[in-house]
């Protein structure tokens, strides 16, 4: 089943104004109607928590109300519908298929709204390799844009990770890597990205969204966007750093959406020849390295108080 990845995440929030400002400052574009878009049209949708148009909440602190998957074509919607009608209620209306997964997360499937992007990736020059940036090409400038390009992945806390994984396997997701006793990184068939969904086993009262992230153009954009976000007063949670599974650069922030919000970049791609790795979760397994924001500083000249 040719599922590409998440097209949108829909939240029912406590503080709509705060979430709106947060997502704009994060770098998404206010597209109206509570929709905040990345460059390719993938989005986060914000509604008031008591909005009657939202699917029911999860009964926890989580504010995630729906995960909208983009698929390749109507034929894929037919295949998903046929598979899910075997054991659950599915509603198909106006080209959108709606149901709930085995943990109770509301899902929607639609022909993807993603717009094709034609943007350069971050370039690197290194001895021994052909230059990626030719003579007089500048690598970084203070005012260069660093905007989220595409909704990358969502991470769920789930009370029964084996059952949750089995559901997504029915839809053609494959496990690319696994943290033992924690959960799988899952890749749907319509993308080579290491994961668009990761799940973490937790007690039932934690069920919900742990984080979501958008892909940036490269590590420089992750660090630049994250630095600008900190300078606006937002609270870093974890990072910047680089994960081992997926190789993606990361920087996570607190948010008023009831979950962390991340910038990521440069994720590994995998195809069906890949054999999933498995290890115990821990600090060493989660990241190759981890740094922490600090205010800009520079060494210069003589010690303070010295005569010039």
């Amino acid at each position: 089943m040719n599922i590409i990845g998440p097209d949108a995440l829909v939240f029912g929030v406590d503080d709509v104004a705060a979430c709106r400002q947060y997502l704009i400052d994060y770098g998404l574009k206010d597209a109206g109607g509570g929709r905040f878009e990345a460059l390719d049209g993938t989005a986060v949708v914000i509604r008031a928590k008591d909005d009657a148009s939202l699917p029911p909440g999860l009964g926890t602190a989580s504010m995630l109300r729906e995960t909208v998957y983009g698929v390749a074509d109507a034929k894929t919607l037919d295949a998903i519908e046929a598979e899910l009608r075997r054991d659950r209620e599915v509603i198909r209306r106006d080209g959108v298929l709606r149901c709930a997964d085995d943990m109770g997360f509301a899902l929607a499937f639609q022909v993807s709204v993603r717009r094709p992007l034609a943007l350069a990736a971050e370039t690197v020059n290194a001895p021994g390799a052909a230059p990626q940036r030719g003579p007089n090409g500048i690598g970084v400038t203070p005012d260069m844009p660093a905007l989220p390009r595409s909704l990358s992945h969502v991470v769920y806390f789930v009370p029964d990770v084996a059952k949750a994984e089995a559901f997504y396997k029915r839809l053609g997701f494959v496990c690319t890597d696994r943290f033992t006793g924690v959960g799988p990184f899952l890749r749907p068939a319509g993308t080579l990205d290491h994961h668009t969904l990761f799940m973490i086993q937790t007690p039932p009262f934690m069920k919900g969204c742990e984080h979501f992230t958008f892909h940036m153009g490269g590590p420089t954009e992750v660090l630049l966007a994250g630095t600008r976000f900190v300078e606006k007063g937002y609270q870093s949670f974890w990072g910047p750093g680089r994960h081992l599974y997926g190789s993606n650069w990361f920087w996570y922030f607190n948010s008023p959406l009831g979950c962390h919000v991340e910038y990521d970049a440069d994720m590994d791609l995998h195809d069906d020849t890949w054999i999933a790795r498995e290890t115990s979760m821990g600090a060493d397994a989660s990241q190759a390295f981890l740094f922490q924001y600090r205010e800009k500083w520079a060494p210069s000249g003589p010690p303070p108080g010295a005569k010039p």
Partner: protein, 116 residues
């Protein structure tokens, strides 16, 4: 040590204070009139900071402390988590004293570095 003057605390809202040079608020104070509630800026779930933005520790109605990590909710008066990953646990209180001239003081122990 002196933290601030009562007038420096927004009534009905929260404010964070960085007492250790860690780059983030060490404690936060919620003011409700002349009542002050001080808490360590540490969520019992991961030991991570609570605010999602500088000084932003409360829900929209300003009647709960909310963690910006996973939306855990805490009672302002007791620090008890009533919803979220640290359900049943509580924030660590920071005793504050309010003098007659409006000065707000915190015990010097909260300015010292501690090993997490």
């Amino acid at each position: 040590m002196r933290l601030c003057h009562l007038d420096d605390l927004p009534d009905g809202d929260s404010r964070g204070f960085e007492l250790r040079a860690t780059g983030r608020d060490t404690i936060f104070v919620v003011r409700q009139g002349a009542s002050l509630h001080g808490w360590l800026n540490v969520c019992p779930h991961h030991g991570a900071p609570l605010a999602w933005r500088k000084d932003a520790y409360l829900d929209a109605a300003r009647n709960r402390v909310v963690c910006g990590a996973h939306g855990a909710q805490f009672e302002i008066h007791t620090g008890l988590c009533t919803l979220g990953p640290c359900l049943g646990q509580a924030l660590t209180p920071v005793p504050l004293t309010l003098s007659g001239d409006g000065a707000v003081h915190v015990a010097a122990t909260f300015t010292e570095e501690t090993t997490p």
